[in-house]
Amino acid sequence: MATNEFTRAAYQQGLGEHRLMGSRCLRCGSVYLPPRGLCRACHSDEMEWVELNGVGKLLALTTIHIAPTAMLYAGYGRENPYCAGIVRLEDGPAISAQILGVDASHPEAVPLGTPCRVEYVERPAGEGVQTFLAFRLE
C-alpha cells in the first residue's frame, strides 16, 4: 500500500463516481490532474483533494482510424473512428481524453478553443467495464 493517497486507484474511483478529482499543493497552490502526491513545483508532499468543475477548452484534436486493441474491443476502428484530444481545464491542468460530439468525418470543422465539458463513458476493460474520462463539445 502506497503511503500517498493520491493514486491511480483513488482517481479511478472518482471517475466511477462521476467526479473529476485532482490534487492541490497546500504549500504553493499548484493543482494537478491526474492527482499526484508530490508537488513538482515545490516538492512538498502536503496535498489535498480538489474536485474540478470539468469545464475547459479544446487544445488539440485528432480522429483515430487505426485503433489500439482496447478501442477495437469497444467497437471503434477504421469503419467507426473516434476522437481523442487534449483539454485545458478552467482549474488549470490540461488532460488527455476521448472527445465526444465531433463528426469524425469532418474534424476540421471543430475550431480549437471550443468549450467542452466533462462526461464519463463506460468502455470494456479486462473482464468488466470501466469508467473513462471524456469531454463533450458545447
Binding site: 491511480r8 488539440a60 482510424h65 487505426i66 485503433a67 489500439p68 482496447a70 473516434y82 487534449i86 478553443g113
Partner: protein, 425 residues
C-alpha cells in the same frame, strides 16, 4: 519552475566514431533482431578504415525499446554480446522508447569520456513486424503514459496528429505542408539501398497504376503527387490529419557504431567523426506541457549540445532528425534552431531541407522512408552522417564540405530527446 540547465557541460575527454554500420531496414519474416545485428556489426567492422580486432571492444551499450513485447525476449544486450563473440564484456541495454539507441550512444560516449573504457560498441535493435498492427500500436503506446494518456484512446499517430492540429491552428500550416516532408524523404530514401521504402512517391504511384492494369482494372488517375497523397483510398487517414504517408512504418532493423577515445581514433580510422556535442533532456506527458507545438526536451538537448560544441544552428551542414511523423520533422527543425518557431513548415514547402537546400535534413530518407525499427533508429541516424561526412553517401551525397552534422532522436512524444553533434576535422 525548473532550475535552469547548467550553462556549459564538457566531456572530460574527447570521443570519436571510427566505424558505423546498419542492416537493411524493412519487414523480414522469420529473421530475429540478433540476426539483423550481425549484419550491422559486420558492416561496422568493414567501415573501420584501418581494421581492428573485435576482441578489443571493452563494453557494449545496446538501444532496444521492447523486444520483450515484440519478440518475447528481454535482456537482449548480453545475447548480442554472445552472438558477436564479445562475452564476457559488460553489455548494457538502454531503453528510452524510440530514443533508445540515441541514448545508448550517449552512454557509450560518457563511458569512454570517463576514462573507464577506450573502445566501446554502441548498437540498436528492434524487430517489430511479427505482430498485427493493432498489437504493435499497443506496444508502442507503452512509450506514452499508459495510466493517463492511453485510456483517452491515444495512439502514437494520434499524439503527433494532435500536435499537428495545434501547429496548424497556431501557424496556419496545412496538410500539404506535412505532405511536402513525406515527398522529400521518399525522394531521399529512394537513393538509399538500406531504406525500407526505396521508392519516390511518383514511383509508388506508377507501381499502383501498373498493378491495377495488370489485374485488368481501370488505372487510378492522379494529377500529381499531392493529388495522390490527398486520395483517401491511396493514402488513408491513420489519425487525422496524419495519413499513411505521414507515418513512419513498422520496421525491423539493427545498427552498430564503434566509439573510441579521440587520442587513438587515427589508429582506427582515416576519417573519424569527433563527438563535439551531446545533450539530453526529459519531459512530462504531452498534455502536461506548456506548449504542443514544440518539444522543450529537444530544445534543451540541442542547447546543451550546441554549447558543448561551441557552435550554433547555422553552423550545422546536415542533420538527421526524428521524423516518426511528418509534423515531427517540421517541429524538429524549429526546436533545433534551423528555422524560427512557426516557420519550419514554410521551410519544408520551399525545399530548404532538401538535399540541394540550405539545410539538408534526413538525407537518408529519415524514419519515414528508411524505416523506424525504434530501438535502432537513433544510432541509424549516425550511420547516415558517417556516410555523408566521409563522402560515402553515393547518389544522395550532399555537396560541399560537411564539417559539422547533427542527429536528433526523440523518445515517445518528447518525454526523451537526445541530440549529438559530430565534427570532421
Amino acid at each position: 519552475m525548473n532550475r535552469p540547465i547548467k550553462n556549459s557541460r564538457k566531456l572530460s575527454r574527447d570521443v570519436a566514431i571510427v566505424g558505423a554500420g546498419m542492416s537493411k531496414f524493412g519487414a523480414f519474416p522469420g529473421i530475429s533482431s540478433r540476426d539483423l545485428f550481425l549484419d550491422a556489426f559486420q558492416e561496422m567492422r568493414l567501415s573501420v578504415d584501418r581494421g581492428f580486432d573485435p576482441r578489443e571492444i571493452e563494453a557494449l551499450y545496446i538501444g532496444n525499446f521492447s523486444s520483450d513485447i515484440f519478440e518475447g525476449q528481454g535482456h537482449t544486450a548480453a545475447i548480442l554480446a554472445d552472438w558477436t563473440g564479445l562475452t564476457p564484456r559488460p553489455a548494457t541495454r538502454v531503453e528510452d522508447a524510440c530514443a533508445s539507441s540515441g541514448v545508448a550512444l550517449r552512454q557509450g560516449i560518457l563511458a569512454v569520456a570517463s576514462g573507464l573504457y577506450d573502445i566501446v560498441l554502441v548498437g540498436g535493435i528492434e524487430k517489430m513486424t511479427d505482430m498485427p498492427t493493432s498489437q504493435v500500436t499497443d506496444a508502442l503506446a507503452t512509450a506514452s503514459d499508459t495510466l493517463y494518456e492511453v485510456p483517452a484512446g491515444f495512439t502514437f499517430p494520434g499524439f503527433y496528429a494532435a500536435m499537428a492540429t495545434a501547429y496548424m491552428h497556431a501557424y496556419g500550416a496545412s496538410v500539404e505542408s506535412f505532405m511536402r516532408v513525406g515527398l522529400k524523404n521518399h525522394e531521399n530514401g529512394a537513393l538509399n539501398e538500406k531504406a525500407q521504402f526505396g521508392a519516390t512517391i511518383r514511383q509508388v504511384m506508377d507501381k499502383k497504376i501498373a498493378g491495377a492494369l495488370a489485374k485488368g482494372r481501370p488505372a487510378p488517375q492522379w494529377e500529381d503527387e499531392l493529388a495522390f497523397l490527398k486520395d483517401e483510398r491511396a493514402n488513408p487517414v491513420i489519425a487525422w490529419p496524419m495519413r499513411l504517408f505521414d507515418c513512419s512504418p513498422i520496421s525491423d532493423g539493427a545498427t552498430a557504431l564503434l566509439l573510441v577515445s579521440a587520442e587513438i581514433a587515427r589508429n582506427f580510422s582515416e576519417a573519424p567523426l569527433y563527438v563535439v556535442g551531446s545533450g539530453q533532456a526529459s519531459d512530462a506527458a504531452l498534455h502536461d506541457r506548456d506548449t504542443l507545438t514544440a518539444l522543450c526536451s529537444a530544445q534543451l538537448a540541442a542547447r546543451e549540445a550546441y554549447q558543448m560544441a561551441g557552435v550554433s544552428a547555422r553552423d550545422i551542414k546536415i542533420a538527421e532528425v526524428h521524423d516518426c511523423f511528418t509534423i515531427a520533422e517540421i517541429i524538429a527543425t524549429e526546436d533545433l534552431g534551423f528555422f524560427p518557431a512557426g516557420q519550419g513548415y514554410r521551410a519544408a514547402e520551399e525545399g530548404l531541407t532538401s538535399r540541394q537546400g540550405s539545410k539538408p535534413v534526413n538525407t537518408s530518407g529519415g524514419l519515414k522512408s528508411k524505416g523506424h525499427p525504434v530501438g535502432a533508429s537513433g544510432a541509424g541516424q549516425v550511420v547516415e552522417v558517417w556516410k555523408q561526412m566521409r563522402g560515402e553517401a553515393g547518389a544522395r551525397q550532399v555537396a560541399g564540405t560537411l564539417d559539422l552534422a547533427l542527429t536528433h532522436n526523440v523518445g515517445g512524444t518528447g518525454q526523451t530527446s537526445v541530440v549529438h553533434i559530430f565534427e570532421r576535422r
